[in-house]
């Protein structure tokens, strides 16, 4: 591990390792976002709902969670659900669990959505048909009749970025995303070997079209993973958004695809993605202010500190699970913790 740290340090972080090591970017002085991207609310409600297993009852749970956020307008709106589904995974650990997706489709329909569309643009695998079959997402789409859009292949429109953390300036975004009334991030609760954690904000990498940027989406890595997370989410700040994190069984260690299952028994929901991700970090025994991109996001996109987060339903205390971190990110730990075993 020391070798990799030395490698990243000497070679400049964001520009090395085939663009995959972009989590230690150069900081820019002064605001790096357009004023219209500033979307930090005064206070942010976040709901933690206990859920021990994946089952059919999840749809009621999601509905109960949505009811805690009456400010989220769903009726007669086009809802785009963006799960995190990246690899073939028989164990159900890498991807948002199919039953969580199923539950979300049903819950948003029940809440009166005009249409619920599922969209994802996997970052490594180009054969989305394979992923649909092997991840269990395909049967969910068949059962529910929900339309699926491969965001890697959707028609695109070039959009100027409202963040200037990286050098991208603009990005092509899928028309299905741009036409949605409500964007719902459905990430998995996971650690990430380049970014520390991958949650609601990082999940937005999957909206970037591989049909333009390739597999992997190299331009994002070359601009720095953290920078790109911030620039993408700054640009989405004007959209109505919601997030539901699948933390029933998360992944720790060498995530996002090579880690180990870590049952956490929760689903976490909210509008403010920074506040939701910060809460998820606390549930994982990670200090959110030590996750570089989250700390920077808290300057303009949302709330990070507990004094600005209103906890709805359950509280962090009593639901914490120690997620293992690779050595490079040992410094993210809230307090020194014993091995989770």
């Amino acid at each position: 591990m020391a070798d990799r740290r030395e490698f990243v340090r000497v070679t400049g972080g964001a520009t090395v390792a085939l663009g995959l090591a972009g989590c230690r970017e150069q900081r820019e002085p002064g605001p790096s976002w357009d004023s219209s991207a500033y979307s930090k609310p005064d206070r942010s409600p976040v709901a933690i709902l206990a859920a021990e297993t994946y089952g059919k009852e999840l749809s009621d749970l999601v509905s109960r969670g949505l009811a805690l956020f009456p400010e989220v307008r769903i009726r007669d709106r086009r809802v785009l659900l963006k799960p995190n589904f990246v690899e073939v995974d028989q164990a159900g650990v890498i991807n948002t669990h199919p039953l969580v997706l199923h539950a979300a489709i049903e819950a948003f329909r029940r809440a009166g959505a005009a249409e619920v569309v599922v969209g994802e643009g996997p970052g490594h695998r180009r054969d989305t048909e394979y992923l649909l079959r092997e991840t269990g997402i395909g049967p969910v789409l068949r059962d529910t009749g929900a339309r699926f859009v491969d965001l890697n292949l959707d028609d695109v429109t070039r959009v100027p970025l409202l963040g200037r953390f990286g050098s991208l300036g603009s990005l092509y975004l899928p028309d299905t995303l741009l036409g949605a009334d409500l964007l719902v991030s459905l990430p998995k609760l996971k650690t990430h070997h380049w970014a520390g954690v991958t949650l609601s904000l990082k999940n937005m990498f999957g909206i970037i079209p591989g049909g333009v940027y390739g597999w992997p989406k190299n331009a994002l890595h070359m601009a720095g993973i953290g920078n790109s997370i911030l620039d993408i989410n700054a640009t989405l700040a004007r959209m109505d958004r919601f997030t539901i994190v699948d933390g029933i069984v998360g992944m720790d260690g060498n995530g996002p695809i090579q880690g180990e299952p870590r049952p956490a028994g929760v689903m976490v929901m909210g509008v403010d993605h920074v506040a939701v991700d910060a809460t998820c970090c606390r549930l994982m025994n990670i200090a959110p202010e030590r996750v570089d991109y989250l700390r920077r996001a808290s300057m303009f996109l949302g709330n990070l500190t507990t004094d600005r987060i209103d906890q709805r339903a359950e509280h962090v205390a009593g639901h914490e699970t120690v997620f293992r971190l690779i050595d490079d990110f040992a410094g993210l730990r809230t307090v020194p913790a014993a091995s989770p075993g």
Binding site: E6, V16, H193, Q258
Partner: protein
Amino acid sequence: MDSRGICVEENEFAHGLARRLTELQNADGGWGTVEAGVSATEPTSWALRALDPIVRDPELGLSAAAARERAVNWLALRQLQDGAWPGSERVPEPGASTGIAVLALAACPEPELRDRAVAGGQWLLEHPGKRIAWRTRLWLRWNPDRNPLEMDMRLRGWPWMRGMWGWVEPTSIALLTFRVLGERLSQPGVSQAIDDGESMLLDRTCPDGGWNHGLGRSHDEDLWPYPDSTAFALLALGPDRSDEAVDEGITALRRMLESPVSRLATALGILAFESFGENTVELHQRLVREWADPFPPPTTRTLALSLMAARGDRLGAAVGSVGAAKRGTSG
């Protein structure tokens, strides 16, 4: 049955795919990545490549010829001054899809289309992947055992987008185009490019054989191969090599395709295995069965590659010619 064991039903299957492909053509002559999508270079090129032989089909020849003509015009009108093609009507930047356009036009008999292919191939030749930064190269020179990604980062390959790093699929496509065009491209650049591309692919194999997007190991752990990437890499490297990596790639692809994966994987498996002279009868039958299920709606690329597989397209056929000649001259 024909020599590949293809029966009447499978020819009808190919006709069905061809009909469907022509029906998906946009009014402007191009194809979108999916049905009703904005016309783009890659799907249009794969569709053209797939339909070109259908022009001689007694049953579908007329409609295929008309579709082919419109596709050729679409590509001709959109080729950029420097020989490259833009990504789509919405994406003016050129990239890896230029290689697919070259493969499509190079298969056409008209000399002017082959000239367009040569211009595209020359552009690809001149636009390999981004070189890693000088300080990284310097650091690696002094610390050769401390490369965490366990790959030779001096090898560039070809990128998805201009100015990015090289990856397996675009490098494979670039290699195929260089071999198809061979000596019509500038020398000695093309021979060097083939060497570079081959070296990059051979460096990026997965520990258990085969290829994924382009990373065999990450964070001290092995990564696993993908059927589509492995098939493209095998097509690009071709049957004339005696590399262990190629043998392991064939074994890996066979293993990955033991049970159904996807229509795309089966189609590419057929194309790759046939270029190595392997029996594909079972895969052909599987492809027919897989297409009986309408879910999920296919991409144009999957449709075109399935048609190419069903019709016995020899995507990797050029590998033997220029590649072997090059190796012959280099000893």
